[in-house]
Structure formats: C-alpha cells, structure tokens
Assembly symmetry: C2
Homo-oligomer: 315 residues x 2
C-alpha cells in the first residue's frame, strides 16, 4: 500500500530528555526500525514528522544569542528543522533498510505549505512556541516585535509564551516533485513540521509567514496530492479514546466518518492533539483513502493489519 | 546546457552584514535573478551553495545557549543550513521563475556526501569554523570536547577558532534521486555547504562526521554523477587571476587543463579559496565536461557564452 506516515515530533525528542544528538539519534532509530518493517511488508512510504521540540530549541538558542546575532523568523527555523530531522531520518532509514536488504532511494525534500492570510486563525493565534518568558520580557517582545503572547502556566515565574496562528493547509507547494519521487518507488521525507507556511503576497509571490500548520492536517493534504491509499498517524497513545481522562474512558478500534464527525462536534477531542488527527483521518477517508489509522509508535505494522490502533471507515 | 551551478556562501551573507533575514533574502534574490536568466536561456540548473556564514551563526547561537540546551554536532548544523538556504533559494526561484513565466518544479534535497575516515585531512584539520575564542575557552573546548583549535588572528583577544578536517568528497549519497529529478527537467538545489559529511562505520552504516567538504569539489562530484555538461562556479571575483595580489596580477579568460595543473602545482592559488575551484574545473574537464567556468555573480550569463570569467578547456 502507498502510505503517508506522520511521526510525532515528541517521538524524536521525548519530554524528559534534553535533546542531545545521541538521544535524538536513538529515538529516530526506534521510529525508523518500525518504518523499515512497513517497507519490508511491501508498503511504499512517504514520511512526514513533527518538529515542536526542535523548533523550540532553535528559538531559545536564537534568543540567547540575540545580542550577537539577529534571530531568524519562525518559518526559517522550521526550514532548518526540516534539514535537521530530514537528515536524521533519511540516514537512519538508509542504514536500517540496508541491513534489511531493502534497496530504495531515500530522500528528504524541503517543503512549503500554502496558507491563506484571511484564514481566521490569523486573528486568533493559538499555537504556543519557543521559550517561556516572564511578564517583563513578554511585554518587551509584544512591543518590539509585535509578538502575540499568552499566559500558559497557572503558576511559576516564567509563564508567558509566544503564540502563533495555526492556519489550515491549502496546498503543498512541492507536491508535484514529491509525487514523482514517490511514484518512482522512492521513500520520501517531506512536509516536516507541517511544512514551512507560506502565503501569497500582493505581487503574486510566496513569502514565509510566522505560523505553524498542524502536521497531521498537512500530512492529509500530502496524501491526497500524491494519491496515497493509506494515512498512518503515529503518536504516543495507542489510538482514539472516548471520554478521555474520565472513568468512562474507552478505546475504539474503528470509527465511521459520521461517528467521528459527531464526536468532533461534541468537542470530544483535544485541540492541537487528538482533534486534528481525527480531522485528518476523516478528510482522508471522505476523499477516498482506503485506510486512515491512528496508533502509537510500536504498533504501526499491527495497526495496518487492523490488529491495533483506530481505523476510520466510510460507513 | 545541463549545468551545475555553485553559489558561494558569501553571496548569501556578505561579510559586512549581520545576517538578518531581510539581508539574506535580498542577497538570495540577486543570485536567483541571475539563475532565472540562465533558465530563460534554456539551460537546466542543478544548484549548490556554500553555508559558511550561516553555519557559523548557528554554531555561535548554540554556544550561547549551551547552559540551557545541548549543542548539536557540526554535521547536524550543516543539515539545518541546507533546510534554511534551500528554502530561501527555492522560494525565491519559484517566485522569479513565475514572473518570467518559466514553469518548472524547483526543489531542495537534503544531501549527504561520503568521505573516508582514512583521508589525510582527518590528521590535519585546516578548515576554521564557528566563533572566535580566547585562550582559556580554547583550552576548555580542547579538553571537554576534543576540538582541534588554532590561532587564526595575529592580534586581538579572541584569536582561537575551531578547525575541522576538509576531506575529499567520494560520492554524493542522494545522487540517484537528484539525477532523476534533474533529468525530468526540475531545478534542484542539492549538496548545500558541500553536503553533510558522512563516513561508513564498522557496522557498514553511514554516520555524520564533524568535517567540511569543499562545496566546489562536491559540486564537481555532483556534476559527474548527474552527467552535467557545464560546471559554473560563481564567486566574488570575475575569474582566475595569476600572480594574484602582486603588481603582475592578470586575469585569464581561458586555461587548458595542463596550464591549470602547472599553476596548481606551483602553489599559484589560495587553498580553501581559488584552489579548490580550479581543481574542480580541472577534474570536470578531464572527466568530459563541456564547459567549466569560474566567474562572479553578475557575470553568469556572459560567462556561459565565453564573454567573461575563466573557462577551462582540455587542450
């Protein structure tokens, strides 16, 4: 099956870790070992990944050096993480595929994603990114750089964080080349971190915008663009749970599009977390995708065979 | 003509600049305007670029934040700059090609370059990278991280700098996919900063090494791998000069391989600067390339028509 796989950014840098190269390499290796199993089963893979921890680290490093060097905008940091994570995934997959005698071209593509400046998300930024600040620093950033800041912790000294818009992905700019490489049998890493968000300006030119596109929604757009049959979302829980965090919590193995839509409308799923994953699976199924699956890293192979995770069906 | 174009890292961030996004965007636009002229003449382009200033900035930012966050190894910083610069070139070229009604797929590929750990360069690191340090910090880095440090300024307080090996490029790991996209008419940005240097370890796996491959030598390898007809090296001088910096300085419009080799042996060209460019052009011409040209940004089109720059010929 031709599958778009979305790997969570936290699978690459765990919350309890500091983000050393050794830690990230180890985590990438765990994820890639599983992807190689999918390749060994004969699936074709187009891989996308989150970049939250990595872009946060870069943002902090840029801040710490701002007396010496100018900081780069968020969309440029996103591009940097595509290079960084793309490199790590690509090299590790090449190594593990080599051991498994799977001979495939494996490459990462710098990917932009088109968003619309009139998207309501630009009037209501919701995605927190980068370092935590105290009140004074927060006010300074608002004044100096026009950042939107929000209070994100109930207590503590450094409780403010920058928030940026999370607009809908409209189109993957490099879709054509990605599709071509994928069609020719290559393993492609693309649209990392949801893609570098760009918008069309008054001169008909693309330009970067400081925003974060949800990586699962971008993965779904990519899956449509390349005509994939599967969309596999790997996260840190085994699948969709209803009544999450209550005594009535239960896992679901299968959801119809109608059921999923009702749960979405009822506010069943956490925004920025399970909600966009379910939305992505609904969209992909409605579009005509054969298998949309949410599962945990470690259950990918079983889940593609319907033995774990949550699978979405038309009716 | 199918041309590999190498753009110098200093063309993207000038020495008198701070490296803001606005400055870099402006510089990239100047370079891309020229590349679009080559496209308009019907040439097919595979673009590579330097990353010296950008990787230096990242290294300094990582150092400044090292109390809070782990620093990433040099090869990872190289991967980050491939994302960063690839993104900027790709977006600007897409925009300018659009204005010129040139409809081509334009993409950047994360690229590794194979080097050999037994390359003599590993015993004699020569390439200075990253921030300047005082004696004490230099000694600390030698002890804590095993860095090789060298005194790079005759005077001043901060005179020490890290030096890394600059081994020969053996092979572009992603050459096959790059060739395919190039063959299909795409404009490809690849092997930025000379490529991410990787070596084969005892388990037959690729792993990153802290080294810097000369971008012009890597460009030549890439040109061979994709079967290019032209190698165009854009730098900040108009071409090769003999007796450089003396009263007998003169420009040369054409050099035979034999002449160039004699000048190389006589130590005519500066190591890490004009020398690898001349070496790359000699190798490419010997390999069977039709046109190897060294010229300045701003003279690319004229130089490809033999009206500027220095062109290399077999005999």
């Amino acid at each position: 099956m031709r599958i778009v796989v979305a790997v969570g950014g936290n699978a690459l840098e765990r919350s309890e870790e500091r983000g050393t190269y050794e830690e990230q390499t180890r985590n990438v290796r765990v994820a890639c070992a599983e992807l190689v199993q999918l390749l060994a089963k004969g699936h074709q893979l187009l891989i996308t990944h989150g970049n939250g921890p990595q872009v946060g680290n870069l943002a902090l490093q840029q801040e710490k050096a701002r007396a010496d060097l100018p900081t780069q905008p968020l969309h440029v940091l996103g591009a940097m993480t595509q290079g960084q994570i793309g490199y790590m995934i690509q090299q590790t997959l090449q190594n593990l595929a080599g051991h498994a005698r799977i001979n495939k071209s494996i490459i990462s593509i710098v990917t932009q994603v088109l968003v619309d400046r009139s998207d309501p998300a630009f009037r209501n930024p919701t995605k927190p990114i980068g370092p935590f600040y105290d009140f004074e620093a927060s006010e300074r950033l608002k004044a100096e750089r026009g950042y939107m800041m929000t209070k994100v912790k109930p207590e503590g000294v450094r409780v403010y964080r920058r928030v940026v818009p999370s607009p809908e992905p409209i189109r993957i700019i490099e879709a054509e080349a990605i599709k071509r490489l994928f069609d020719e049998g290559g393993v492609v890493v693309a649209s990392g971190g949801g893609g570098i968000p760009v918008a069309m300006n008054g001169e008909g030119e693309l330009e970067g915008v400081d925003a974060v596109v949800d990586k699962d929604l971008a993965a779904e757009k990519l899956a449509e663009a390349v005509g994939a049959e599967g969309l596999l979302i790997l996260t840190d829980v085994e699948g969709v749970k209803l009544n999450f965090g209550t005594t009535k919590e239960r896992s679901v193995r299968q959801l119809t599009v109608d059921e999923a839509r009702r749960f979405l409308e009822a506010g069943e799923f956490l925004a920025g977390s399970m909600k966009p994953k379910v939305q992505a699976c609904v969209s992909f199924t409605v579009w005509g995708g054969r298998a949309a699956v949410i599962t945990s890293l470690g259950k990918a192979v079983e889940s593609m065979e319907g033995r774990a995770g949550t699978t979405f069906i038309k009716a």
